[in-house]
């Protein structure tokens, strides 16, 4: 019996002739549809991935870093209010390879009051937590200092100064009017009534906007000021950690535990995106729908092309069988043809995405409410789309050619 390699060569020969001597217009149009389907899948997925990536970056850069350490539980199982021995903990944390930096924060509830004309007639009040930061430490773990819309970032020695997120200030293009002071400017004074009964007056030193709503709804004073308000020292409500991201967060959490951060609650940044998780999940569903539709379009197109090709060559297929060609050779030649359409479409699509779409979207990113979104091609999704297109094309090539090649020879030749 003939061997598989001979059969493969024969199928390859037929496939080559179908392409080189077949209708060029059909080849070009089919490849074009496969290309468009591939681009559509990856372009829209890439934009959505870019938006998700932006959310992730904003969360890490301006909100909670990579890892957050929070107070652990006391002997009765109740959550502690503060982390203790913070200086010692920070030294341990900073000694771990791959940790870029850490910063401790206090967070306490407050009521913030703004009286723009100081007459008491138009007092604007919001109930909002105030956070404290050590400005020098904070610069190592967040990008906040680079997003000052107006005024300046805090200095370590600042005591009567406060910086506000744009959404709290209610000015400078803030979009969430409900919980804001409705138009605080640099140099204005605000009064903060802390929950422990302490009242302080601050001058607004700066207003920042990361365009990430979660980050822009925060109020900061210096650590020294907050320790003075709370009457505490060497404690923190949370410690924010940035890593070099060489390994997943789980690795660094393990390293933190090994380094002696045992009693505290250590959580990765993903635990803090609850508000935007719905968006991310919706984007994932949209991406799957886009992939599905794209594959259907490409698959059906290739199926139709192969179906028409084999139907119009029914007699020819009958003749091939009559001279002794095995059905497998005929089917393989059409699967090769379908694969050719898909793979050429993929290659052209990759070229368009790589050399046209990506440079264009880098130069002209979309303005999303959370920042500028560019194309982010996720390798796993990209590979999935390629593999899916190939699998779909194999199916689209197999089914019609298999059906026709199984026909009785006489019926195929004479109808």
């Amino acid at each position: 019996m003939r061997n598989i390699w001979d059969d493969f060569q024969a199928a390859l020969f037929l496939f080559y002739k179908y392409v080189t001597r077949g209708n060029k217009g059909t080849v070009v149009l089919t490849v074009l549809v496969a290309t468009l389907a591939f681009i559509q899948i990856n372009l829209i997925s890439g934009i959505l991935s870019g938006a998700v990536g932006l959310i992730y970056d904003q969360t890490k850069n301006n909100y909670v870093g990579n890892i957050v350490i929070q107070p652990g539980k006391d002997q009765w199982g109740n959550k502690e209010t503060y982390i203790t021995q913070v200086d010692l903990l920070k030294r341990k944390i900073n000694a771990i390879p791959g940790i870029i930096g850490c910063s401790s924060r206090y967070t306490t509830g407050s009521v913030i009051e703004y009286d723009p004309d100081k007459t008491g007639k138009d007092i604007r009040t919001i109930s909002w937590p105030v956070k404290s930061i050590n400005p020098d430490d904070e610069k190592r773990i967040s990008e906040l200092h680079n997003y000052m819309l107006a005024g300046q970032y805090l200095d370590e020695s600042d005591r009567d100064q406060i910086i506000l997120g744009r959404e709290v200030s209610g000015g400078y293009g803030a979009s969430l009017e409900v919980q804001s002071l409705k138009g605080v400017n640099i140099g204005d004074e605000v009064t903060v009534f802390y929950h422990n009964g302490v009242t302080r007056q601050y001058t607004v030193k700066g207003i920042y906007a990361t365009v990430f709503p979660l980050a822009d709804m925060t109020v900061f004073v210096t650590q020294k000021e907050m320790e003075s308000v709370l009457g505490l020292r060497d404690r923190a409500s949370e410690i924010i950690i940035r890593t070099d991201e060489a390994y997943p967060e789980a690795y660094y959490i393990q390293e933190l535990r090994r380094a002696g951060v045992e009693l505290q609650d250590i959580r990765p940044w993903q635990d803090f995106i609850g508000l935007v998780l719905g968006i991310v999940q919706s984007f994932d569903i949209i991406k799957k729908i886009i992939l599905f539709i794209g594959l259907i379009v490409a698959g059906v197109t290739i199926f139709i092309v192969i179906f028409i090709a084999v139907t119009s060559r029914r007699k020819q297929i009958g003749i091939m069988k009559a001279i002794g060609m095995k059905e497998g050779i005929i089917v393989t030649s059409y699967i090769m043809l379908a694969l050719f359409y898909a793979v050429t479409g993929i290659v052209v699509g990759i070229a368009v995405i790589e050399f046209v779409a990506t440079p264009y979207f880098i130069a002209h990113p979309f303005n999303f409410p959370m920042g500028k979104v560019s194309l982010l091609i996720v390798r796993s999704e990209f590979v999935t789309s390629i593999v899916s297109m190939i699998v779909v094309s194999i199916i689209a090539g197999f089914i019609p050619s298999w059906r026709v090649s199984r026909e009785n020879i006489i019926k195929a030749i004479w109808g």
Partner: protein
Amino acid sequence: MIKVTDLKKTYYGKVPVHALKGVSFQIPSGQFVAIMGPSGSGKSTLLHQLALLDNPTSGQILLDGVDTAGLTQGKAADFRLRHLGYVFQEYALISELNAIENAFLPLMLLGMKRKEFIRVSTELMSKVGLSNRLHHLISELSGGEQQRVAIARALVNRSKILFADEPCANLDTENKGIVLRLLRKLCDDLGQTILMVTHEPEQREFADRVLWLRDGMLVKDESIDKAVREDALHNGYRTDVSSDPDYLKDN
């Protein structure tokens, strides 16, 4: 050697059609046999069964001693490829392939080396008078040329038996003569066994023997006189002697 015993073929539809009703005959190797009969007599059906293109309802076909009833679909395909050649009524060629590619396709399927199958098929194409048309696409060939390509393809595997189903049906007089003389020459020179279905009485004169079918039964087994054959070979369907290809002129 072909041995057919009580061959029956029934097509089962709303009304069963008994296309062959128990045909038996023997054909020794190297004989050129014409199968004749009116439309619906079962000529093509008989050829399809003999060429393993279809399965008979009952009866036995022995091709060179091989009982074809025992062949699976795959083995039947392999048997066709190695031992049989088939020339269809219409120019049954593959349009995406050129003349020589159509001719060498069976050799490629047999796993022959490229150099070798090109040499063999080029020689054969030369024998059928198409050495100057090797790389022409099928659409660029005349009907007669296409049919000669089909004959070359049917012979390229050194088939023991060549089946031809009305090979001249769509040809003009000149090309009919060329194709029939070619078949006769193959039989005389190479000892090729040929079974040809035809409905034109004039064509039977090229054969050694005629099997007459009527209503699915063999009704007459006629031998053709050598003198008639010789006359047909030299004068049959000839419009102009000079129009014959060179390879036929030595006859």
